[in-house]
Structure formats: C-alpha cells, structure tokens
C-alpha cells in the first residue's frame, strides 16, 4: 500500500464520514421537526340556510337588544341638526348633502345622499365650537351591510390639517391612510352607530367611509352630533 493510496483512502473515508454525519444530522433535524398532531374537527354538512331577505322579523339579529341608554351631561342637544354639510364628493350620485342633517333617518330611497366609490367623507359644520359627547352615524340600514373604513374625526380646522381628534377608526389595515384603527366593524341598523366622545371640543365633524359589503358606494342617511356649546 503506497502513501498516495493511503492518502486517497483517508480522504474518501473522511468524505464518507462527513456525508454520514451530515445525513445523520439532517435526519436528526427532520426527526426534531414534525407536523403538529392536530386533531381538528371536520366540517359538518348542513342543509339550505334560511333566506334572511324572506324571513322578515324572524331574521337572526346580530344583537337582539336595543342599545343601552347613553349617559351624557344634561342639556346635550343634537348640534348637527340642519347644519351645513360639505363632502369630498362634489357631485353625489343620489340625493343632496343637506339630507345628512335633516333629521330624517328612515331607510327610504329619499333619505340618503350617495357618494362615489373609494374613501369619501361628509363634514358637518356645527357653526361654533362645541363640547361633543356622542356622535351617531347612520350610513344605510335598508339592508344588512357593513361599512368599511369608518373613521370619525373632530377638529376646529375645516381642512382637518391640525388639531384633529379621531374618535372612531375601524380601518385596521389603514387602507384609507388615516392611521391604523382599532375599533370594530359593525352591521348597520336602525339605531345607527353611537360613538362615545369624552367632551372633545371642536366645530367640525368629519365622517369617512369606503364602501360597504353591499356596494362600493358610500351612503349617508344621517349624522347626529350630541353636545353642548363650548363656554
């Protein structure tokens, strides 16, 4: 056996050893990792579900209780009633902006203003600075639907460029670019969505939305701003 042969043999053995160790390590890792022994229930088949559109008053309610009374300082009034409304949409598809504060929050075709697609807002000018304790928004409650990216802000600046207080934001992925919201989405109903406000001062209230599960358009039936004129 010459030296060259011994050297070759040593190299080959080393290579085999390395491969063996590698394989064993690989197997060890493979043995270390295993799919979780999950025992998950399989889906249960079901029959034709009821058609809520046909069921009228028997439909499943998401909440079957009326909203609890909201406690606010005595003397609070709806400061938004008949006040001037402006919007990001200069030419609404249906209705006019004054419908947002006319006191009519019925689910009829004549009660709402309908704005175009994408993120849109309506803004109520309270006329003077006020202390706000609650804002209630009715988008559209003629059918079951969830409005997306509902954001409500208060400011003294009509352009909302400074001193803006956000009192509600459910845009959890910030697609409307007003910040990540942590509030929940909700089903529209006849009660409207009451957003409690802790006496924030401001003259302008702006409500954003970005379509709903029913339509890409943005409907506003009514906005109420409950508070007291600021001292």
């Amino acid at each position: 056996m010459n030296m060259k042969y011994c050297s070759d043999l040593t190299k080959r053995l080393a290579l085999l050893l390395a491969l063996g160790v590698g394989f064993a390590t690989h197997n060890l890792h493979a043995q270390d990792l295993a799919p979780l022994p999950l025992k998950l229930p399989i889906p249960a088949f079901m029959g034709t579900p009821p058609d809520m559109q046909q069921m009228g008053p028997e439909v499943e309610k998401l909440s079957d209780k009326p909203r609890a009374p909201f406690m606010a300082p005595k003397g609070c009034v709806n400061l938004a009633f008949k006040k001037k409304v402006t919007s990001s949409d200069k030419s609404p598809i249906t209705g006019s902006l004054d419908l947002v504060t006319d006191g009519d929050k019925e689910a009829s075709d004549n009660s709402f203003v309908e704005l175009h697609k994408k993120t849109q807002w309506v803004q109520v000018d309270l006329g003077t600075e006020a202390k706000i304790y609650a804002i209630i928004v009715w988008h559209a409650h003629n059918t079951f639907q969830v409005y997306h990216d509902v954001v409500v802000q208060i400011s003294d600046d009509p352009d909302f460029t400074k001193d803006v207080t956000t009192v509600y934001n459910n845009d959890v992925d910030n697609t409307s670019g007003l910040g990540i919201g942590t509030d929940k989405e909700y089903f529209e109903d006849y009660q409207g969505r009451l957003m409690p406000v802790k006496g924030v001062k401001g003259r302008y209230v702006r409500c954003y939305s970005k379509g709903s599960t029913y339509s890409a358009l943005n409907r506003y039936t009514e906005v109420e701003v409950w508070g007291l004129p600021a001292e």
Partner: protein, 522 residues
C-alpha cells in the same frame, strides 16, 4: 328533422351557451353548492360516497360530475374549480333543447323551435343552469322520460321502454321530489283520458295500452339503475332502503317544519312580477301568457299543423298538476319552479305556433307577431344575462335565495394574503366557529388548507394564527386575549349573517409589513 328546424335549434343552443357560459366562476358558491362540491370531492379523492337519507338528495349529481372534472384536467382537490362543477347543470340545461326533437311529432316542429328558444332565454333556466344542484338534472330526466315514453307509444319498440325505465331509475337517484313528477304524470294521464272520454266518447287514452313484457323490463331496468347508484356501486347495502326512508324527514319538512316555509304566491311572484327597491323588474309572464294560448288552442281543439292536441292536453294537465303540488306545499325554495315552469315553456312553444296560425292569410300580421315574439325573447335574454352575471348574488334577483355574499370572497382573499406571508402557507392553522355548522361555503374555499378545524360553538381553546368566528357567537376574542389577537374585519357571509376574522397580532404585523402597496381602484 328538417333543415330549418336544425338551424333553429342550433341557434337556440348557441344562445343558451352564450347566456350560460360566461364568468362561471364569478358568483360565490351557495351553501348548497358548496356542500355538494365537498361531497363530490370525497368521491373524487377516493373516499367514496354514501347516500344520506336525511339531506343532500340523491347520488347522481356526484357520479355525473366525475367525467366533467376529469375532462377539466384538475388534479387534486385544490385544483377543482367551481366552473368545472357548474358545467354539469349547464350541459343538462342545454341538453333540454337537444331533447326536444324527440317530441317533434307531439308538439310539432315549429313549436319545438319556439320551446327551444324559450328554454334558451328563460332567466330562471339560465340562472339555475349555472348552479351546482340537482334541479336541472331532474328536469332533464323528466323530459327524457316524457320523450322516451312518447316515442315508445308511437313505435312500441322495446328500446324506448328500456330507456324510459333507465331514466326513471335516474330520476329516483337524482332527487326525492321525482315522486311529484310521477304523480303529476299519472294524474295527467287520468285527466287526459277522462277529457277524451267526455269529449269524444273514447273509452280511454288508447296510446296508453302497454305491453306487459315491455313494462316489466322497463321497471327492472329502473330498479337496477336505482340500486347501482343508491348502493354506491354495491358498497352500501342500506342505500336502497334509505332511498325510501328519506321520505320521513322530507315529509316533515314539506309539511312546514322548515325555515323554507313560504305562502303560495312565492313562486308566482318570482316568475311573473318581481321587483325590489333599486333593482330591475323581473318577469317571465310572456312565457306563461303564450302557454295559456297553447292550452286554449289544445282544449278548444283548434287544429294546428303538426301538433298532436291530445299530447298537448296531456302536457297541460301534467303542468297544472305539478304547479298545484309545488304551490300547495308550504316548503318552497325558488329552484323548485324549474319542474313546472318547464311545462309552461313547452306549452309556450305551442302557444307561439297557435298565435301565428291565428293570423291565417294575413301574412303581415304573422310577421309582426313573429317579430314581437323575437323581441320578447331578446328581452328575456337581457333579463337572463342580468340574473346570471350582474345580479348573480344580489338579493334583488328573484332567484338569489340565502346566497353567499361576494364579501365572503374578500374574507377568503384576506386569509390567503395573510397565510402567504408564512413559509408554508398551506400549513397555517385556522379555526372556524359558527353556530349550527353555518360556516359554509368556507370548507370549499379553504380546501387547500389541511389544518382547518370547524366548530359549532366557540371551543375551549379558540386561539390559532387565524380564526374565523360567526358574529352571532359574540366571540370577542380580541378583548378576551388582551389584543394578542386582533379582529381585522367583519365580513358578510350572507345577508344578515356576519363573520369576524381574527389574526394573531404578530402575524398581522408581519402581513402589514409585507403586503404589496395598495392598487388604485379606479
């Protein structure tokens, strides 16, 4: 079949395909469609099929789907598309037109053309030809039974009797309600016979004399076909007995113990005049008016070239009996109109011919009426397209019933986008809870994920990287978990039914960091 009829039928088939084929995948699957789809996947993937007498109708739909999915080239459950499944009712729906020449000497060739045209453009037929349920198959087999029976009575050949027997077995293996069709056929035979006796003094409907040997052979074939399917090719011995036991729960439902109990105008409103605020008006009243003209011609014995009036009277009795049965029953779902509405479509074919024959030698009037009928067909086609595409899942469409909202597809897309941030997206653990198992059609849309658990209530350990919970359960997992899990969206499963999507906080953060920049929607 002459050249003009061939051309006319080809045009009707072309119109039918044009209205039925586009965007087959677009509409989200209805709960029923998805249940059938998942049951089919069991058969497709070799887990077999076992008839369930409590729900889900007969086995035919699943077995018939096998060649369609095979031809679609799908390999594996995740690759099977809704369009491949919906091709089944679509082909049977178009097949209704191709069967009509078998009744060429019963309805008359011109009436065959008009009936083919009404079949092609009827909004109800277009809509449900794109719906993965059993109804279209039952209508197809019923027409084939009628045609095979008619051909047998004309020729007395054993082959037609055997075909009728086989089709009877297929009807049984399609849907329990096939008994209504049989009862209506039997009642129509009696009533038509009584009519002939009263009008012409004939003792009976002479064509109905059957050869006992042929009748027995047909019934034997029907039994064999039925047993083969209900036993899942001889692997489920209790299947045939279950196919009879099934009538207990169905009778319970038909009697009104069901959320699908509706008052009698339910079908008429949908077929004749349906309008919801903000939606268009839907009506197939033209077809029904023409059917009344056809019936009037048959019962006044007004001779029509090529039309066998006795057959039309029989068809009229059958249609009216079936209409009465479905309307008397409190249990009503909109797809059930297809059975009796198809009778009106055939009669409307005769009605169109009667109307044109009434013009006599006033050719200009015949031309005007023919043009008006074609205009009516175009208007029906426009409604059909609206029903199938624009308003495919919109409650303002009369044929949309407890349908999955398109918003649910947004939920599925959101889940897919979140899991895409994982090294092995399909290995993500997902937990779904909905009261009473009302999470369909999600089992179909999440079929690519092997680790999905399904609960009928919030389980003791509800947490997983992705959780979908029905709103009615008030899961509140974000608050209960101290915001370790965020509710990132509320999605509409069906009108009035919401689903909440919860995502583990770090996974959501990772998704927000990795997601592509939003696209401009306009």
């Amino acid at each position: 079949m002459n050249r003009w009829l061939t051309l006319g039928l080809l045009l009707a088939v072309a119109a039918a395909l044009l209205l039925r084929l586009p965007h087959l995948n677009q509409r989200p699957l209805h709960t029923d469609e998805s249940v059938h789809a998942v049951k089919f996947l069991g058969l497709w993937e070799g887990r077999g099929y076992r008839y369930d007498p409590n729900e889900y109708h007969g086995p035919i739909l699943y077995y018939v789907t096998l060649p369609f999915v095979w031809l679609s080239g799908a390999r594996g459950a995740a690759a099977v598309e809704a369009s491949a499944l919906r091709m089944v009712p679509l082909v049977f729906g178009v097949g209704l037109i191709l069967l009509l020449p078998l009744l060429g000497d019963a309805l008359g060739r011109p009436a065959v053309f008009w009936a083919a045209l009404w079949t092609a453009v009827s909004p109800a037929f277009v809509f449900y030809s794109r719906y993965y349920i059993h109804e279209l198959l039952l209508v197809f087999f019923t027409l084939l039974l009628l045609a095979a029976g008619w051909r047998y009575l004309q020729t007395r050949r054993l082959g037609w009797a055997l075909l009728a027997g086989a089709v009877l077995g297929l009807m049984h293996a399609t849907k329990e309600t096939f008994v209504f069709n049989l009862v209506a056929l039997a009642a129509a035979a009696v009533l038509a016979g009584a009519w002939e006796h009263w009008r012409a003094g004939a003792l009976w409907f002479p064509e109905l004399r059957l050869r006992r040997r042929h009748l027995l052979a047909a019934l034997a074939v029907a039994a064999v076909v039925s047993v083969v399917f209900f036993t899942s090719c001889f692997t489920n011995a209790s299947g045939p007995l279950d196919s009879i036991r099934t009538y207990l729960p169905w009778l319970h439902r038909a009697g009104g113990a069901s959320p699908h109990e509706h008052p009698w105008p339910f079908y008429f409103k949908r077929l004749l005049w349906f309008h919801k605020a903000g939606g268009p008006v839907w009506t197939e009243v033209l077809i029904w008016l023409l059917a009344i003209v056809g019936l009037a011609a048959a019962f006044t014995s007004h001779p029509l070239n090529g039309v066998n009036l006795r057959f039309v009277r029989f068809l009229g009795f059958y249609t009216l009996c079936l209409t009465a049965i479905y309307n008397v029953l409190p249990y009503k779902t909109p797809w059930c109109v297809l059975g009796f509405h198809h009778g009106f479509i055939l009669l409307a074919g005769v009605g169109a011919v009667a109307l044109l024959a009434w013009c006599g030698r006033r050719r200009w009037l015949a031309v005007v009426i023919a043009l008006a009928l074609f205009a009516g067909a175009v208007q029906l086609a426009a409604q059909a397209r609206r029903a199938a595409i624009t308003f495919a899942a919109d409650p303002r469409n009369p044929w949309v019933y407890a349908h999955t909202s398109p918003d649910l597809l947004r939920l599925v897309a959101q889940i897919n986008a979140i899991t895409a941030t994982q090294a092995q997206p399909d290995q993500t653990l997902i937990k779904v809870f909905a009261r009473g198992g009302d999470y369909w059609p999600l089992p179909w849309y999440l079929r690519a994920y092997p680790h999905v658990g399904w609960w009928s209530e919030v389980p003791p350990d509800p947490y997983a990287p992705i959780i979908v919970a029905s709103s009615s359960l008030n899961a509140n997992l974000d608050e209960k978990s101290d915001k370790r899990f965020l509710m990132v969206g509320l999605f509409q499963q069906r009108p009035g039914v919401g689903m909440e999507l919860y995502v583990e906080f770090n996974l959501w953060k990772k998704y927000l960091e990795m997601r592509p920049p939003p696209k401009d929607e306009e």
